[in-house]
């Protein structure tokens, strides 16, 4: 179960490591679009865009649906959240560490002040 989730996170990050795919995802967060529209928008061949969307789809970041001859793409509800979640977790860990470090730094500053005073005496 845990491993399964890790694999998902890895795939999400792999999918998001490409600037075009991030752009596509940002675009889709704003509004759904067809592959043709996306290809035009990103100045790309239909085949090229299909590949990018395919990677995003595999990572669960995007859902596509074919109606007639048009394949419409929209954002998948969960994967993006998962992908950004670990960075946020990581940030929270560091924030907790640094908040603690603030306290130690205050102690050190205080000690310097006292030492400075002693030296002057």
């Amino acid at each position: 179960m845990v491993q399964y989730t890790n694999v998902n996170l890895d795939t999400s990050f792999a999918a998001l490591s490409d600037v075009t795919r991030r752009g596509v995802l940002e675009q889709l967060i704003r509004a759904e679009a067809s592959i043709t529209e996306l290809a035009e928008k990103f100045n790309m061949t239909l085949t090229g865009m299909k590949k990018h969307v395919g990677v995003l789809e595999q990572a669960g970041l995007v859902i596509t649906q074919k109606v007639g001859r048009v394949r419409t793409c929209r954002v998948g509800p969960h994967r993006l959240a998962e992908a950004t979640a670990w960075l946020e977790k990581y940030r929270q860990l560091w924030a907790a560490r640094f908040d603690e470090l603030d306290g130690i730094i205050e102690d050190l500053k205080e000690r310097e002040k006292i030492d400075g005073r002693k030296k002057r005496e």
Binding site: V75, A81, E82, Y90, F98, E100, L108
Partner: protein, 172 residues
């Protein structure tokens, strides 16, 4: 501890930011209200370092913390559940720069560079982690958080929160 009253006057905490700068790089930034020599001291003296590296607020603690802060010197941090982190220092420039390897995962582990930049009595700290490959960073991200033993519980909570907010885009 956690029941501290919200109304209690407390100085504003400086914000910690994390950015995946590229496929192989992660950057953590934070400003401290103290000169670089003080911040540097807290990063290089084991008795100080262990107090914040394993923050009480996260319920983690270090069983042992050995640091030989000089070029070629080693470090070893041992957490309660037998989890160990170790490596060696490859650059030590007092008050401005620390570089160390992370060898617990074998060869080709990430390299951590910490810079301390003093400006007007404050210090901007930048921690830069360079991984050998994109895959290594992907795996470490999940692995490290996992190692803290709480990723998935908190992930669930966060997902629930994100779900509840209807996927609103954060503003600012």
């Amino acid at each position: 501890m956690a029941a501290r009253k919200e109304s209690e006057p407390k100085p504003m905490k400086n914000r910690t930011t994390v950015e995946r700068k590229s496929e192989r790089e992660l950057i953590v930034m934070r400003t401290f209200d103290a000169p670089a020599r003080i911040v540097f001291e807290a990063w290089t003296k084991p008795d100080l370092f262990k107090r914040w590296w394993a923050p009480r607020s996260r319920g983690i603690s270090l069983v042992s913390c050995q640091m030989d802060v000089r070029v070629g010197g080693g470090y070893r941090l041992v957490f309660g559940k037998g989890m160990e982190f170790f490596g060696r220092y490859i650059e030590v420039t007092p008050h401005s720069r620390l570089v160390w390897t992370n060898d617990e995962g074998g060869e080709d582990g990430p390299v951590t560079t910490v810079t301390f930049e003093e400006k007007g009595g404050k210090t901007l700290l930048v921690m830069h982690e360079l991984y050998s490959s994109k895959e290594a960073l992907d795996a470490a991200g999940t692995g490290a958080a996992d190692g803290m033993g709480e990723l998935f519980g908190q992930l669930d909570e966060l997902l629930a929160t994100l779900g509840a907010s209807g996927g609103r885009v954060r503003s600012g």
